[in-house]
Amino acid sequence: VGHLFCFREAGLTNGTPVETSSPASTSSLLNRLQLDDDLEADIRDPYAEAAETRDLFVTVDDPKKHVSTMETYITYRVSTKTSRVEFDLPEYCVRRRYQDFDWLRIKLEDSQPTHLIPPLPEKFVMKGVVDRFSEDFVETRMKALDKFLKRVADHPVLSFNPHLNTFLTTKDLNKRQGLALLSKVGESVKHVAGGYKLRARPAEFGAMGEYLDTFNQKLGTIDRIAQRILKEQSEYLTELREYGTVYSSWAGSEDELRRPLEGVGGCVTTCCGALEDLGDGMSQDILPVLREYVLYIESMKSVLRKRDQSQAEYEGRLEAAVLRKQEDRTPMPLEVEKCQDKVECFNADLKADWERWQSNKRHDFKQLLTGMADKNINHYEKCQAAWESLITLLQDKQTEDKTSETN
């Protein structure tokens, strides 16, 4: 019974397959090792190899605006394709709004407290500053929601969570109940008695915490640099536009030089367009992903804190129990064992998630930075093409003139 406790604590309902749960029994330890092997394979190249073994595919797309008397909101289409037995049908298609994703996340956090839940894009946006219904905003949010769902679906434990199943399959999400209650409550009250102080945090978790803090700093710096570049580019663009018009207006007072001057003015204008595209690309594709990682770090840190709390509680109870045992020779209480299980569960889950997170992070940033490089390369290619075609044009004219002169 003791061994199943952790299992039940995790909130899995009856009938759900056991293999992927993580109780601290011998058989489950073996399972865990097996899981670690899979994870190792994932670490090497998570997306390539997971794709081959993946049996659950989710996509978020097709945003639509809904206008009702009470409110206006956006829904997204959530499509699922799966061969898993936990799902009745092989394909599903439902519509969900942000609130629904938020519900799912809260449910996951509550039911899988030892796991890192991927972050959602920011919930609240300042009404006056950002247009919640602009194409760019909706597109950015949708991509983030898609990423969130994919990360959950790719997680070996979270993807089997029944709440995810509900989210993906139910037509009308009956979630109103408890939504108001849940918000931030689930995070701290349910599992932690509170008031326990941690004695000795294992070095590896300490290192994780430090890494997260430093990484957070670096991300902040990168975000600031990217924003500064955007600002400088925008100011450059303003001057460049003006510069282009001077060529065009000069062309008006020339005859032989008209074409070359207009040509140069045209090239400058083309470069302005390319620069504008670069800026848009940066603010739509690069900056949001950076910000999302900051949220991811916060999620991870909160999981670390929960683990610390869990360990603190165990240590506290153990100490109390040891003292009582010394006094009246009672056996080790069940709750202490329960706590020990919990801590070991937590540590194992956390380590696995950490490795997964690191691997995802490497992949995501590789993609992000490569994308940034590609955008810049593309920008220069556009500009180069414009100037090259101008030279061809002018040199053709030159040979054209020479032949007409000799004729």
Binding site: F215, L240, S253, E256, L369, Y380
Partner: protein
């Protein structure tokens, strides 16, 4: 009577001044006979006109006869040192002596259209270097000009270091210079200037306005572009710091960071090259003023012709009135005659004689002015045409070179980002 001389109908007819079209084409100019360059610049200390110590720069002017170069004789060039102020003196002399020529301009006296990184200091080595190039360009332009290249003072400037200034002053050119006031007055009061010159004057205003606008806008663009590139250098630093805390990603990030540093540094060379383009634009900005000066000279000669003609008409009229007794226009003499009675016949004879002398002088004056105006129109028209062709060719080339520079900048950018991308892919 004719108030303005007839304009030349066909540009390629033999001209009054003897410069034929053929000569223009062949350009049997000084440059063909002599290789000229401004090789170096040096700082000197000396006393100036108010006997105070000052530091100034001198430029080495080297010349070599072309046949020596052609024969491959490795002859050492003749050389002498000249200050910027001596170049200025030479140019002023040319401006006064050849008012019908669009005289090539000197590089700017003080650095203008500066973007923030460039120094506005005259002693700055980059500025001195660009000035050296500009002075050489000036000499080459003058020495290849069909008219200017034959000037003795120019030859002297290139060959004899000492005593040149005195020789220039001895020509008395300063006395020939038109007073500003007189020139301004002519601009306002001239009645029948040649239309083509007026159009050309208007064009010179346009050219000046557009080139200066362009130079200003380009400087602002350069400033901003500099900022964009330099901020990317910050990526270099943060990637380096970040790489220290990563295992697999570390190497890729570190190398990518180096490429970002290289990218940020690349803007310095790019913008330095662009200064050459700016210098080409500046030359034509100043050329516009030289063109306007030729047009103004026309206004002045035309005005003086008009004044002389008017003066002659007035004298003839006076003579007619005096001899016939019929007063057509108001004159004080006429009034006093009416009030106090006519003068004695001897007085009248004397005055008539005086008027006849003045009329003869006046006619000579008008004749002179007609010739002066007409010569100026013809010669100036030739040179303005030459200038236009030169300008079209030079600026077209400058624009093409600018496009080439932009392509080079794009290629560099692609190279840097591709290098960085390779590093990212290795992460």
């Amino acid at each position: 009577f004719v108030l303005s001389p007839p304009p030349p109908k066909n540009l390629f007819l033999p001209m009054l001044c003897g410069v034929t079209a053929q000569m223009l084409e062949e350009g049997s100019t000084l440059l063909r006979r002599m290789e000229i360059c401004v090789a170096e610049a040096e700082k000197r200390n000396g006393k100036n006109t108010v006997n105070m110590q000052e530091t100034f720069t001198v430029y080495l002017v080297e010349t070599r006869p072309m046949d020596a170069v052609a024969e491959g004789r490795n002859q050492a060039p003749d050389s002498l040192w000249r200050r910027y102020s001596e170049f200025e003196l030479l140019r002023n002399y040319l401006l006064v002596t050849y008012p019908y020529i669009v005289v090539p301009p000197l590089p700017e006296k003080r650095a203008e259209f500066v973007w923030h990184k460039l120094s506005a200091d005259n002693m700055d080595p980059d500025f001195v270097e660009r000035r050296r190039v500009g002075l050489e360009n000036f000499l080459l332009r003058v020495a290849s000009h069909p008219v200017l290249s034959n000037d003795k003072i120019l030859h002297h400037f290139l060959i004899e270091e000492h005593g040149w200034k005195e020789v220039v002053y001895e020509t008395g050119f300063q006395a020939k210079a038109d007073s500003r006031l007189r020139a301004l007055s002519a601009t306002f009061r001239v009645r029948n200037p040649d239309k083509r010159f007026m159009e050309m004057k208007h064009y010179s205003d346009e050219l000046q306005s557009h080139t200066s606008q362009l130079l200003r806008a380009r400087a602002r663009v350069a400033d901003r572009l500099y900022g964009v590139y330099k901020v990317h250098g910050n990526y270099g630093r943060v990637f380096s710091e970040w790489s220290a805390m990563e295992k697999e990603m570390g190497d890729g990030l570190q190398s990518a960071g180096h490429h970002m540093d290289a990218y940020a540094a690349s803007i310095d060379d790019i913008l330095e090259e662009e200064e050459h383009y700016a210098d080409q634009l500046k030359e034509y900005l100043f050329y516009a003023e030289a063109l306007r000066a030729v047009c103004r000279k026309h206004e002045l000669t035309q005005f003086e012709f008009e004044m002389a003609s008017q003066e002659l008409v007035s004298k003839k009229q006076q003579h007619e009135e005096l001899s016939t007794g019929i007063v057509r226009t108001f004159s004080f003499k006429g009034m006093t005659n009416k009030l106090f009675g006519q003068e004695a016949p001897e007085q009248r004879e004397a005055r008539l004689k005086l008027l006849e002398d003045l009329i003869a002088e006046g006619e000579e004056d008008v004749q002179e002015k007609t010739v002066e105006c007409g010569e100026h129109v013809e010669r100036a028209w030739v040179d303005m045409h030459r200038f236009k062709e030169q300008k079209d060719k030079d600026l077209r080339e400058a624009l093409i070179n600018y496009a080439v520079m932009q392509i080079s900048m794009c290629k560099k950018g692609i190279q840097m980002w591709s290098n960085a991308k390779e590093c990212f892919l290795k992460m």
